[in-house]
Subunit: 460 residues, 3 copies
Amino acid sequence: MAESTNMRLRLPLLCIILEVILIILFGTLVEYNDDTHAKLWNENRTDSATRNDHENEFYYRYPSFQDVHVMIFVGFGFLMTFLQRYGFSSVGFNFLIAAFSLQWATLMQGFFHGLHHGKIHVGVTSMINADFCTGSVLISFGAVLGKTSPVQLLVMAIFEVTLFAVNEFILLSILGVNDAGGSMTIHTFGAYFGLMVTRVLYRPNLDKSKHRNSSVYHSDLFAMIGTIYLWMFWPSFNSAITNYGDPQHRTAMNTYYSLAACTLATFAFSALVNPEGKLDMVHIQNAALAGGVAVGTAGEMMLTAFGSMIVGFLAGTISVLGYKYLTPVLESKLKIQDTCGIHNLHGMPGVLGAVVGAVTAALASPDVYGHGLQRVFADVETGKWNPQSRGGFQAISLAVTLGMALFGGLITGFILKLPIYGAPPDTHCFEDGLYWEVKTFHAYTPHAPDAVRAPKDSWT
Amino acid sequence: MAESTNMRLRLPLLCIILEVILIILFGTLVEYNDDTHAKLWNENRTDSATRNDHENEFYYRYPSFQDVHVMIFVGFGFLMTFLQRYGFSSVGFNFLIAAFSLQWATLMQGFFHGLHHGKIHVGVTSMINADFCTGSVLISFGAVLGKTSPVQLLVMAIFEVTLFAVNEFILLSILGVNDAGGSMTIHTFGAYFGLMVTRVLYRPNLDKSKHRNSSVYHSDLFAMIGTIYLWMFWPSFNSAITNYGDPQHRTAMNTYYSLAACTLATFAFSALVNPEGKLDMVHIQNAALAGGVAVGTAGEMMLTAFGSMIVGFLAGTISVLGYKYLTPVLESKLKIQDTCGIHNLHGMPGVLGAVVGAVTAALASPDVYGHGLQRVFADVETGKWNPQSRGGFQAISLAVTLGMALFGGLITGFILKLPIYGAPPDTHCFEDGLYWEVKTFHAYTPHAPDAVRAPKDSWT
Amino acid sequence: MAESTNMRLRLPLLCIILEVILIILFGTLVEYNDDTHAKLWNENRTDSATRNDHENEFYYRYPSFQDVHVMIFVGFGFLMTFLQRYGFSSVGFNFLIAAFSLQWATLMQGFFHGLHHGKIHVGVTSMINADFCTGSVLISFGAVLGKTSPVQLLVMAIFEVTLFAVNEFILLSILGVNDAGGSMTIHTFGAYFGLMVTRVLYRPNLDKSKHRNSSVYHSDLFAMIGTIYLWMFWPSFNSAITNYGDPQHRTAMNTYYSLAACTLATFAFSALVNPEGKLDMVHIQNAALAGGVAVGTAGEMMLTAFGSMIVGFLAGTISVLGYKYLTPVLESKLKIQDTCGIHNLHGMPGVLGAVVGAVTAALASPDVYGHGLQRVFADVETGKWNPQSRGGFQAISLAVTLGMALFGGLITGFILKLPIYGAPPDTHCFEDGLYWEVKTFHAYTPHAPDAVRAPKDSWT
């Protein structure tokens, strides 16, 4: 058994091969875009006297990019450190698969978003989009957390990024829908993909590791670092790639109000569903974020603070109820072992966000949006805009996303089931010691009994 | 006793009622402002060819907003995790009351700052102002930390936010004073309000919980996360709502120098007041921040780096001395139990900041400020500007703030004293287990004695 | 022995004297620059109708400054908390010496970068430069971590900042080379300076503290906070002071790709060099950052994503191999005790970055850069530009930097060897209790054996 989880050859080989392929593809396919290329940016500059450096997309997008980047690496990474003995893997594997995914996503998205004379053009907007796609992979990671080897996770990322790019292309380029904050493309897709993967990888004997599948006091505090960063920067996430000006400003504000209302709902229902009225860290860490997910599509529209708060309140409510009542049923009846409860944080709120987006798009009117209409709905300029049909396309997009995610997750799950990746045995899930050098759990204290050594014998 | 702290009905009921009221009021009173409204922003755009998206206030204010947001949720939240068994409550209740306060503050400040045809206009500046007001509530939270139920904290927030908005209106709109970084409106107000509340809620038998009223090694490290984020982003806090251009730039820089000097003073006096010359984490965590508080009023003026450093050095010094010598006296003589020592971090440095602001305003002259004078002192444009009278109004504002804070804290304290909120008993202050599901404190370690279970019997 | 580490007089005296000197020098030498001065900014404004507030350097530089600031205080501070009993000192002394260094650096760099009528002009760019210089001191701190008193560290900072400014002046002003992200000026200089200092301070009996010179589970998670922040914000670091527009945008993107590739190399080689294929937290925490160091010089050039990824991959590889094979040899053969392994994170990758910079500069051509050439290479405008000679000057700069660092570290090391600073004895290195009040390591738990007290007797 011990042999099978040894990563000495598998992980280096996979990492090196992937990175070499990435480097070769970047070398042949990727070029600086107009805003990052020394020649192109300064050529245009000479052509038109009005173009100045402050108009470089860097100054509109880079602060948002950095906030999104923090969500991906600190937010997701630390949110998953809640497990008592899986902190290294949570933040470490999150780091590894995110670093891989953002490179692979640049290629896949660049390919589908349209080549320029056969080349992919990159800049801060492609960096944000790559981080977005990565977010989707990390959502799926939450479902299989503790039950997969790093090699499995990288293989999952290869397939998920690819399918993400296809689904995104269908939604944004073919159906022409709005989804700036990714309620559908990121959250719904990532959640149902991950749920299907974990369904295929179902472990009937996972109970053997149940003593490790819970938090301790300090691990919950580390997880709160992740939660709070996700919560604070979600306004930047949803607004990162909207149009400049009022859409970006409005999206950030709608998200801010949705999250605030969601937080009150989370605390309310967390206390209500507990017999002693005690708050549950799992709810606070996760459900309070559902408000960001649920305005991911409609956030850039004229949803109003009022509408945002209603959506946020609903999202927090269904998320807490999902953790309390639905997750146990999913596991016992549908055999879906969802470690982080991504169905409650990303799945249901993502679907809610898609529905809210469809309704809000269907209710849009030139009376309300004025000349700003075309800055939110791209087909206004082509004269083809029709709000009801826009709403319809939004709804169709949700169905497409669900189909793509479930089908993709199914196939990927079966690929990940091959016994070649060094997955942990049922007795050693949720355990860092399998893939990491773990020396001691407690500090040396001269006058106390010796520090408790992590038991090596049990897995080596 | 156990019954009395059960939050099962009280907390959900209060949260849901408050959020429903907020949603109704937002629905009837709140509208997008010119920079967030699709129609309004793009209308103006057509009127004037020179107006471009980069002039949207989003691009001037949003990075500052995000820094302020981090201070409110990570800064304040983690700063208070220093207590060994109160980390969930510190970061969790901070999260809850901040999420409520920022919504309520939007309404209260919007009401007092001036309605537009009966409506409150919102955008990134109102978001910053709401976060500022929230900061004031969190300062007061620091005084009563560990001794209040979440229901009490929400009730406190309702009153404090309201009075904050009244006081802010008197200072900024009636007296027309400067206080961009809130030495008076935020720090002095929040500190003395909180001190009066904790005075009214005095617990003669708090000693029964004294074994929990201290830090452990890792809780002090979590608290340092809060400290460092507050310290780093204070330049953004003080400059977030100043005028664009030189005032914003100058404020950030003055704050940067004040904090640097303050830090050296803090280390110096922390070692000096200890018999063995050892540094005290309480000082480093708190007093090093006093320099940010103390330039909250004068920061936007021509204080110079030199002046800022003197102010910061003084602030750090009085703050450490306050922790060492004044806090014990306040508790023993005045019956003020100030858990976080907010009098040393926000109270005295806030008063210092108000005085520095008054003096700096009184010394302002067109010689030094040139055409920039009117961009700092609003009444220059109306021709009524007189530096001495400006200084006088600044000093009056300090007195008004102290009066409002003490009176408001007194009333609020008595309201919070009603035995209906489920406050913790004297024996179980500073204890997460009262309001949170706390399973284990230490990780499962196969070869060691079983993980120490949090003792349930003692409060259930 | 106990007497000798008492900081009661030494530390306060040094801090107060230094701060008083700083305040006096700032009072006599420092002035607001054109963008922070109320008069100067608004004068120019009247002269030219086209100058608007959004052109204030604040809006181009401040978000980058804040990211750099986070790297300095959170990044470096928490990265060094990996030691089990040295967390207070890591983040605390980092805080102290950074707060001092940024003030001292403002003066030293201001002096060398050119006075304006005898005055140093300050603004956000000088703040970034001061933070950069501080970073160099913190790199050196990593080499001597756990083996020095705070007084020693401040004395080291005085000398290192001064020499940094001299070296930077020679490179940027005399040799006119490019080094926006500081592969040479910051990383190579800081690393070899620190290595020479620790060589001079060699402790043959450091083994007596070896039980404390390692991590525990949670200290490694705290360190990952530092790692991830450094990793995420490195694109801001390298691009913070490049020219506006395409160079800043391009630098951020090149760094992003270099780091992503570096991370995959780090995971690959970390597993490969371990007999059981287990990942080592030391590698992940440090080597994954080497990619940022290695594009510090060439990042602003037309390195391409392809080139950046190759450089990053190489940097991660040599860094892991350095930790595994070189560090033990440096200690046993060359008597260099490098606590954090700065030679692997900053030394070798810094040299690599300098070489990559020289080659990339030598390969620059107007064909590739177009009109953007002069925005990267300053001497294009003067007509003296010659790529081969540029490459040569870049290489000479590396030699100069190495010489300055080794010589400066040698002298400084001998100064720090004087037995007057209260350095820790060999038996109490890597121990917070020497300079900090440390009460308990574990939380009070009613049903468990009493909390383990930190042993006081052993050093008092």
